[in-house]
């Protein structure tokens, strides 16, 4: 992955007990390498046709994933200790058999007050008020219901980091 000077990777920690869902996260946040055909087409198009649109800089992410709340806490702690804390932590609420995402979020918030925390769940069994009480402040707390649009999620994550 090429990183231009002055461009910073957005570090994202993702915890979900469903491996398929984790694959989706990785797929969404990982920039796709253009195939040889695409490179060739882009080269020919630049030579044969007039340029139509401006190239938009896409945000770049560094994804770290796990499938248990305890692992998420450990990874967040390691990142904080190494001086490269995560910008965003995405947590599934239900991750049996270990602790749930709310508990994990609460502990991560305790060690990193600035991290953006996103809760994602398939069933809203924890009221938003309780989430805000356990994982303050509300401005750095976000909530998404499954199934979610990963395209939109990527945009939201990028925007919430840029508003820092």
């Amino acid at each position: 992955m090429e990183i231009c000077e002055g461009e910073r990777l957005i570090r994202v920690l993702i915890a979900d007990d469903d491996e398929h869902v984790l694959d989706c996260y990785r797929d969404a946040f990982t920039e796709k390498e253009p195939t040889n055909h695409m490179k060739a087409l882009d080269a020919l198009a630049a030579e044969l046709f007039d340029p139509e649109t401006d190239i938009v800089d896409q945000p770049k992410f560094e994804i770290v994933s796990c499938c248990q709340g305890d692992d998420a806490i450990s990874l967040a702690q390691e990142a904080a200790d190494s001086g490269s804390p995560f910008d965003v932590v995405i947590l599934d609420v239900r991750m049996p058999p270990g602790i749930d995402g709310v508990e994990a979020g609460s502990r991560i918030r305790a060690m990193d007050p600035d991290v953006e925390i996103i809760f994602v769940t398939g069933f809203p069994d924890v009221p938003l008020e309780e989430l805000q009480r356990r994982v303050p402040p509300p401005i750095k707390l976000h909530y998404f219901d499954k199934p979610l649009s990963f395209t939109q999620l990527v945009l939201d994550v990028a925007s919430m980091v840029r508003t820092h």
Partner: protein, 693 residues
């Protein structure tokens, strides 16, 4: 995670206990399943606590219930009462026999002693009277002069004639100072006898001397003397002047024979059965040996079963034993005492038995029977788990109050259990819904991602400038090198589209896999929902009575429910809630059919009978109404899904189709008959007969 052998489940590990019914059956179904509690440990492992209703009963209580079988308390109380009565009777017997009865004997002995004292007193009185007569005659100038030979006329004027008879004397004799008999007279039974036969005055012995010779002015002798004519009480005194001056001029002797006449008088005066026996009497001799040792003045008592005999020996004037007085006292007091004791014992025995019987009936009626009813009631609740069963004890005493409080308590427990199960059911159902939603949404998340990728794939062709390349290729002025590059662009574009299509195909396959996973989740829930409900032994009459409540009170037209009494004899094996809903549906259909017939009043009959279906014993329950009925054409389609007509309509949303499925699910059959429109209808429900019914 299905719980083996039960329809109850915990849907996820929790530190609480959650119960809920086999999902999507009626909530009432909770009551129909055997309750098994599952406790979720912190490690997520489920542990079957095996906490059935019976096992929840405290050990002590179970022991008590085993020990207190029917009639146990009654037997215990009866034996206690009998024991008390037996001890009371034994104590009464001992007291009456050992203390009261001997007291009667003592009283009797005392009475016997008193008798002989009274006889002695009477004899002393007779002696005193005789002494008084003698004392009246002895100090008298006339007899003084007579004994001195100075008054011969005294004999004729005072001694002869009826003097003895008048003085009640048998012996009268006057002696001169020298002992010469001057005059005497002896009467035996009114006939005069020679004085010499007495054998007393004509002999030179101590007795004669004591009687006929007095030297002192106040000399006197009185006592019993054995004469030749029989024993006699004799009094003798010195004759002196009337002014009690001397000299002593002689002696006067007066006597009374102790004969049968005087004995009779003595008996009359003393009212005592007295006999006297003399030392020289042959009869007395035969009776005396045993008492021969009695000294004069002594008294002894001989006690036999029939009487108490008292003896007292009297001496003659010389101090020798002569007269044995015997009194006989019948043992009337002892007999009366024994009779009284026996009567007392009999009374106490009868009273004890009566008190025992009365106490037993009283205890049985007021305490034992109500307690037995209460115990049976508690036992029934323990065995059946039916907390709605009432004791029926409405007495105003403490047991009635206890029963009512127990009923109230069981109702509270029932309500609490119902509420707990309601909450558990709802909580479990909510957990189930949450779990299902969570799983489905998790499965849908990759699907959404796949669809987004597909969407992006479909955008690829539109982004390629294939059309522009073709336009350039059709331009005859296009340079060959440039034409070659356009052709190369087209070639690569097609290959890129082909490559994108391949990726899209993979994405589609992934979406398909996720869709199948969602379908699998739903299938799991469907299987779970189809768990066979628990069946139980149900009395038909109780189910019908309960189901009949679906007709609202005050509904018009008025409908009479005719429930055959013999329904109580039929028991079916069915799922209670399901059967209640089936019957409720049939009853409502019947009611609405009566309404549609526009009748002022209607009747719904319930009948039951034995039947056989596929060689299995069944119970046929018939619900017959006099409502609108239906035609034969309608009858063929009446149980079809979605079928409605003006003649048949269901108001509760379940419908006859559901009824048919529910009855079939219980191993039964349902069918309907009607003679035709306007002639009522019969719905027959065949259900498996309960085993042992």
């Amino acid at each position: 995670m299905a719980a083996k052998g039960t329809t109850w489940q915990i849907v996820r590990p929790r530190s609480q206990i959650h119960l809920f019914g086999s999902a999507f059956w009626s909530f009432d179904h909770i009551w129909d399943a055997e309750v098994a509690l599952y406790h979720a440990g912190f490690d997520g492992q489920f542990v079957n606590c095996g906490a059935s209703l019976e096992s929840l009963c405290p050990i002590g209580e179970k022991r008590m219930l085993k020990r207190t079988g029917p009639g146990f308390l009654q037997t215990k109380v009866s034996l206690t009462l009998l024991g008390v009565v037996a001890v009371f009777t034994a104590l009464s017997y001992v007291i009456l026999r050992m203390i009261i009865a001997p007291a009667f004997g003592d009283l009797e002995i005392e009475a016997a002693a008193t008798d002989i004292v009274r006889v002695e007193g009477a004899m002393q009185t007779s002696a005193d009277n005789l002494a008084a007569i003698t004392a009246d005659w002895a100090p008298w100038d006339s007899i003084f002069q007579y004994t001195r030979g100075e008054n011969p006329a005294f004999r004729k004027s005072n001694l002869e004639g009826l003097t003895l008879e008048n003085l009640d004397l048998d012996i009268l004799a006057v002696f001169a100072q020298d002992g010469t008999m001057m005059w005497s007279k002896v009467l035996v039974d009114g006939a005069e006898r020679p004085t010499s036969e007495l054998g007393v005055f004509n002999a030179e012995n101590a007795t004669s001397a004591r009687l006929t010779k007095h030297t002192e002015l106040t000399s006197r002798t009185i006592g019993i003397v054995q004469t030749g004519l029989g024993p006699a009480l004799i009094s003798s005194r010195a004759i002196i002047r009337s002014d009690d001056t001397g000299p002593v001029s002689g002696a006067i002797v007066m006597g009374q024979f102790l004969n049968d006449t005087r004995l009779q008088r003595l008996k009359e005066r003393t009212e005592v059965g007295v006999e006297w026996l003399f030392a020289n009497d042959g009869v007395a001799a035969s009776m005396l040996p045993a008492k021969a040792e009695i000294s004069p003045g002594e008294m002894t008592i001989d006690i036999s079963d029939a009487k108490i005999t008292s003896y007292k020996m009297f001496a003659d004037i010389n101090g020798d034993p002569l007269l044995l007085v015997q009194t006989s006292t019948p043992r009337k007091i002892s007999a009366l005492g024994t009779q009284t004791v026996n009567a007392g014992l009999l009374f106490l025995g009868i009273a004890g038995v009566l008190v025992t019987i009365v106490m037993w009936f009283l205890l049985r009626h007021t305490i034992l029977s109500p307690l037995e009813l209460l115990a049976a009631h508690i036992n029934r609740i323990r065995e059946s788990g039916d907390l709605t069963h009432r004791s029926g004890l409405n007495t105003s005493d403490e047991i009635g109050l206890l029963a009512r409080q127990f009923d109230s308590m069981t109702m509270e427990v029932h309500d609490t259990r119902q509420a707990l199960l309601d909450e558990s059911f709802k909580a479990g159902k909510a957990d189930m819904a949450a779990e299902v939603l969570h799983n489905i949404r998790n499965a849908m998340t990759p699907m959404i991602n796949g669809v987004e990728r597909l969407s992006r794939s479909f955008e690829v062709p539109s982004k390629l400038r294939v059309a522009d390349a073709i336009v350039e290729l059709r331009n005859p002025n296009c340079a060959p090198e440039r034409r070659e590059k356009f052709l190369q662009y087209l070639d690569i574009s097609f290959k890129h589209v082909e490559e994108t299509s391949h990726v899209a195909s993979e994405d589609l396959e992934m979406v398909t896999v996720q869709a199948r996973q969602v379908e699998a989740i739903l299938s799991d829930q469907e299987r779970f929902a189809n768990v066979t409900p628990v069946t139980e032994d149900l009395p038909v009459n109780e189910v019908v009575s309960e189901a009949a409540h679906v007709i609202p009170k005050g509904a018009t037209p008025a409908v009479h429910l005719d429930i055959d009494e013999n329904l109580a004899d039929f028991h079916v094996c069915a799922h209670k809630t399901g059967l209640l809903q089936v019957l409720g549906n049939l009853i409502l259909n019947a009611f609405e059919s009566i309404q549609r017939a526009e009748k002022h009043s209607g009747e719904i009959q319930f009948r039951a009978s034995d039947a056989v279906l596929d060689d299995k014993p069944m119970i046929r329950l018939t619900v017959r109404d006099n409502g609108r009925g239906f035609s034969q054409k309608i009858g063929k389609r009446i149980f079809q899904r979605g079928f409605t007509s003006k003649e048949i309509a269901s108001s509760n949303g379940l419908g006859l189709h559901w009824c048919a499925n529910a009855v079939a699910g219980m191993g039964g059959r349902i069918f309907a008959e009607s003679p035709g429109e306007g002639q009522g209808a019969e719905f027959h429900v065949l259900l498996p007969a309960a085993q042992g019914a």
